[in-house]
């Protein structure tokens, strides 16, 4: 029983990464209609960002937690302005290819510089050691990741549902043309939203650095699962993406416990089931971001 509980906990921690990544992917898809294949690469850059700041500049992980997402967010905005933006009016396939290419380039650049082996990264001192959770004890750092991701997802949800900015983003993603006709300058919001999604991927990367292998392929391995998570949650649904993130994390961990042979394919079996029963995903409505 303890073993199962512990697996569930592990699953939720994996789910934290799924949730943050799916959230960004989902907002970007809702607002731009772009499936960002480079999302995993930015997650990888986030982890390397934390590594480089520590290794080359001696800056702590805590600082990286703020600096890296901010920098990657700006990189994302530049990317949107210079490249993604030009292709948005064309067939979605163009941006799919563009972001896929960017992912490969970023991955290869990091491999060129750091090779294929993983970079060492130790946990921040404050979060070293474990925490007694009653039934079992659990690494402090993992508990922090779980709580932190829940707080971030909650904040994004609050912004989307309770603020004027969130209202504009919801409206613009549901019906961009109509929102224009109602006086909303939709174009002004596209770039920051893209940057924000990328920043979230970077944040997930920074969080991953102390507990996952930091190497150039870490993003590519994850992105396929994230796509499945987004589809399960419902394309463009923020609430759905986040919930599906934690649920998929948990189910995969539990599946791993009982059916280790199936653990890799469980996500996709789940996706196929959801698509069969609810083609729009668990929380999907029309296209567009909604809470």
């Amino acid at each position: 029983m303890d073993g199962l509980l512990q697996q569930i906990f592990n699953g939720l921690v994996s789910g934290s990464f799924y949730a943050l990544l799916a959230l960004g992917l989902s907002v970007i898809f809702g607002m731009l209609g772009v499936v960002n294949f480079a999302h995993g690469a930015f997650y990888m850059l986030g982890a390397f960002g934390a590594f480089i700041l520590l290794d080359s500049f001696g800056l702590s992980w805590w600082l990286a937690l703020f600096v890296v997402p901010a920098v990657l967010g700006i990189v994302g905005m530049v990317l949107e302005r210079t490249l993604v933006h030009r292709l948005v009016a064309l067939d979605p396939l163009y941006n799919f290819l563009l972001t896929f290419g960017i992912a490969l380039i970023l991955q290869d650049l990091m491999r060129l510089r750091y090779g294929v082996q993983s970079q060492p990264f130790s946990r921040p001192e404050l979060l070293d050691g474990s925490l007694n959770l009653g039934l079992f004890s659990y690494p402090k750092y993992q508990v922090f990741v779980l709580l932190f991701s829940i707080v971030i997802s909650g904040l994004v949800w609050l912004v989307l549902t309770r603020t004027r900015v969130g209202m504009v983003v919801r409206a613009a993603t549901e019906r961009a043309d109509l929102s224009q006709a109602l006086g909303i300058n939709v174009g002004r919001w596209v770039t920051p939203v893209f940057g924000f999604g990328i920043a979230l991927a970077g944040l997930a990367g920074v969080l991953a650095a102390p507990m996952r292998a930091v190497n150039s392929s870490m993003g590519g391995d994850l992105i396929i699962v994230i796509f499945a998570v987004v589809v399960i949650g419902g394309l463009g649904s923020v609430f759905g993406s986040v919930t599906a993130g934690y649920v998929v994390g948990m189910l995969t961990a539990v599946g791993n416990f009982y059916l280790p042979a199936l653990s890799q394919s469980l996500v996709f079996i789940l996706m196929a089931l959801v698509l069969l029963l609810r083609p729009a995903g668990l929380f999907g409505r029309e296209e567009g971001v909604h809470a």
Binding site: E174, R175, L182, G183, V186
Partner: protein
């Protein structure tokens, strides 16, 4: 107030508006009447800047707005009530009302809106699309009133509504007119049109073919109905 000259619009190869010229005087309610597929919706979309493949010029109060983007036209005073009502599912009723900016000095306050449309007040926290068709239509009109738009572009606001609701929409439009707001209204129901509007433009196969006043509409109601195929 609104001056359209030589407006031509295409969908790919198909030309759906041909050299349309139209004037709407300030304070007037003017209708566009025509069969299904005549090009009425396309004309409003051109005016709003939503249909891009067009030629010709559009002036609002002597200002050329042909090159402006939709959100700029909205801020210049155009209030769009689209044919599908344009209610957001992901916004509640009050958010649907307050999403657009206020663009004119005569913008209604939320209190005014709720006083005029009590049903919207009762349902202000519900998702916009949970309202009935008639209520969504009220919401769509209320939204442009709250913006304080000077020229309303209404695309068949009475379509699919019960006679009682049609009457209500008529009251609202007369009230709007009394406030000095100008309205360009697409309407298939010529009888209803003659009770709210000052002038009527007949549109057929993408051309404005005739312009009638209320007396002429009454005189020729049967002929018009037959022509519209109703």
């Amino acid at each position: 107030m609104l001056r359209v000259r030589g407006l031509t619009a295409t969908y790919g190869e198909a030309r759906v508006l041909q050299d349309v010229s139209l004037d709407v005087e300030s304070g007037q309610v003017v209708t566009l009447v025509g069969r299904n597929g005549a090009g009425k919706t396309t004309l409003l979309r051109c005016l709003m800047g939503l249909h891009r493949s067009m030629e010709g010029t559009i002036e609002l109060d002597d200002r050329d707005i042909t090159r402006l983007s939709p959100h700029q036209r909205c801020r210049a005073g155009l209030g769009y009530v689209p044919d599908d009502r344009g209610i957001y599912a992901s916004l509640n009723v009050e958010e649907n009302l307050t999403l657009p900016p206020t663009v004119g000095p005569d913008a209604w306050s939320l209190e005014q809106v709720y006083e005029a449309f009590p049903v919207l007040a009762d349902r202000r926290r519900q998702a916009g699309t949970h309202l009935s068709g008639g209520e969504q239509q009220m919401l769509s009109i209320a939204r442009v009133l709250r913006m304080g738009s000077r020229l309303l572009l209404c695309d068949e606001p009475t379509e699919g509504l019960s006679p009682l609701l049609v009457q209500q929409i008529g009251d609202i439009l007369r009230n709007v007119k009394a406030h000095g707001v100008t309205v360009l209204l697409i309407e298939q129901n010529v009888h209803f049109a003659s009770t709210v509007a000052d002038r009527h433009h007949l549109i057929a196969q993408g051309r404005l073919v005739e312009s009638l006043d209320n007396a002429e509409v009454k005189e020729r109601e049967h002929e018009l109905l037959e022509y519209l195929g109703i």
